[in-house]
Amino acid sequence: MSGSIQDTFFEECEELLEATDEGLSAIEGGDHDPEVVNAVFRAVHSIKGGAGAFGLNELVAFAHRFETVFDEVRANRMELTDPLVQLLLRSCDHLYNLVAVARDGGETDQEHHDMLIEALDKYIPEEEEDLTFEPMGLGGPMDIGAIDLPGIATEETYQIHFRPLKDMYSTGNEPIFLFQALKDMGTLEVTLDDSELPGFDAIDPEEVYLSWNLVLTTSEPRSSVEAVFEFVEGLCELSIDGDGDADADAAALAALEAAFGSAPAEAPPEAEPTVMVEETPAAPFEQPAPAPAPEAVPEVAGKQASAPKAETAKSEQRGPNPTLRVDLERADRLINAVGELIINHSMLAQQIANLDVADVRDVETELEGFKNLARDIQEGVMSIRAQPVKPLFQRMARIVREASSATDKSCKLVTEGENTEVDKTVIERLADPLTHILRNAVDHGVEKPEDRIAAGKDKVGEIRLSASHRSGSVCIEVRDDGAGVNRPRVKQIAIEKGLIPENAELTDSEIDNLLFLPGFSTAKEVSKLSGRGVGMDVVKNAVTGLGGRINISSNPGKGSTFTIILPLTLAVMDGMVVSVADQTMVVPITSIVETMRGNDDMINNLGADGTLLSIRGSFVPICDVAGALGLRKEDSDQPPGVYLLVETETGQRSALAVDDIHDQRQVVIKSLDGVCGEIAGVAAATILGDGKIAMILDPESILAASPAAAFDTERRMSNAS
């Protein structure tokens, strides 16, 4: 039970941290609206409250400090100075870490943790420095040994005198329930003292006249008895006399014990005639208005059946916009089913087309409607998986902050299009490459403050992260206003590392894209930040792994822009249906740059090294798909008819030779996992309209497996020049 609630807690933490982040960013931007301040306070407060319930002490303690400092701000006792806002932002980042550690395990950076605590403590006024906080939640420790078991401990007898004051009834406290709680602890005798009750005519309905003398025999410690009267302390005259142990445990533990040692629950209050007989007739006279008369209960309860807003934990709602939480698996099942539906439509359409019937127009009209509906459903289902990129972008703001402080640069992240929605999996798998690009932008893109000033720029570097939808794709752009790619240096490094020949003549864009070559790193030494021996090639792999593309463009002195184009979903893709050696196959549209019909003039034979396709004066190696897949002998006479110009991960272009192009359409991606092993050159499969299975090709791996791959950049360069 508590496991799933804990999951909810972590989910909620994400939202609360986002709210905190957002609020602090607004504050950083000069918005000191009390409502913004309050929202941040509440969010951190809720994190603390939830964390306490699960015994996450480190998180509780840190959140408590944060909250205490922020409470000072909220109460206008403290100014929101710039250093304080920066500290709070970093503390918020640290809260993210603490939550992540609590959820996923791992270690907190203790040094950083202590440093932040020390810094926060400086803002906490003296008298509030008592930050002891003892969580006692579901996951918290419990001192079982200290609990007295009924029948084992010795019994004590308490004489209790209880005289409610008028105010007690206005708080909704009811003597009978207190007596019931006492009765659960042992044997209780109740005697009503109505000696102060005046004659009927003299009764003031607002006044109190009754008091009680109680004799309780219980094995509970005195503190448990006192705990029963906790809520009415100060609202009644109370004396508890007995030989009970006055040095009993702390009140909180006692409350626990009292409930632990309670009498069997089935004993209803009516079983104690002493209480009821004396209490019931007295009540209406004594407390007509303020106290809930017991008779009122059935009436109240009667309304329950028609209560419209009854809600259980399973249908939890939050905020004014009702949402529904659904297992990802269920959404995926639906997406799969819609995929089948679309395939089904294609098959139906094909069969109708093949029918030998004179007039199929009516059927086709209906079928068109079917197709539109199927598409609507598909879009609807896809949107279930779609999430705004906002949380991802907010995380990136932290990355930029951390990176800036690690490199002693000052950068700010400006985000645009935060509400652009992208498939959940895409968002998840985008986090790492985006982190890398942003660290790279801070580390290598933005100049040191003094260099920026010298260049006449603002001291603070600006990194702009934007998301937008662009014709069925998602476009994520990271633009910095730094120095841009140092092209002479990049080229020199590429030559040093043997990635390109010394005499290579490259366009600016080709030089920029060298950054994506495996093993390329411009940092003179591997920096702590973006180093780790990981280059931009990893970023490119991650993006292409999502069926996307990445590009860099740079303007010396003005900055660089990384553009990532991603498909909207991973379940369906646009593919070009081609035939290869009598087989139908699909090539992802995203990897195709251009298609063309070839003629003999365009093909240049290089003998054993393969063939080159000449396009507008440049040459690209040809890879015969049928040959690469082993469907046809390499030296077959049959000339492929169509060339698909594709761009590989390294920016290198090749021409995939296929027999013919049939169609361009959306295909549902069916994983081959668990169906058959990995096949070189094949990424997945799909089902076509005619019910046949077609392989979805992976151009990258086809090229890697073909002789064209041996035909590397070097050869291309020297041949081209």
Partner: protein
């Protein structure tokens, strides 16, 4: 007849914790996500007891108590304040507004049920069985 609890808290985690504990203990549970919603739904829900958080958007816990006890609704049901604030002035302020008692977060099943028992008499819950600690 089940005792109906209206829980008002902006934290989903706390609402879920309350729901799990209370439903398991045989209470009927209804929740609201902030003070405003809690007050608005009060008369439709007609709870036997209200549990409210203090720090909430739209209307805070003190506001909830004041409105429920005010002449408009004139509620007489017990109201328990659920808060991490153990500061005495916080309790005093809640009580002045008309709160019946308080539950200090983080709470455990037993102290939550014990608090409810003291204000509603609802005791259809044997902690010893559910908590698994004793016997």
């Amino acid at each position: 007849m089940k005792t109906k609890v209206l829980a008002i808290d902006d934290s989903r985690t706390i609402r879920n914790l309350l729901a799990a504990t209370l439903e398991e203990a045989g209470f009927e549970y209804v929740s609201a996500v902030d003070g405003r919603e809690g007050v608005d739904m009060y008369e439709d829900v007609a709870p036997d007891v209200v549990i409210t958080d203090i720090n909430m958007p739209n209307l805070d816990g003190f506001g909830v108590i004041e409105e429920l006890r005010g002449t408009g609704i004139n509620s007489k049901v017990p109201i328990l304040v659920l808060t991490t604030e153990s500061a005495p002035e916080m309790k005093a302020r809640a009580r002045n507004a008309g709160a019946t008692g308080w539950i200090t977060k983080p709470f455990d099943d037993a102290s939550l049920i014990f608090a409810l028992k003291r204000v509603t008499g609802a005791a259809a819950y044997d902690v010893r069985i559910h908590s698994g600690y004793l016997l």
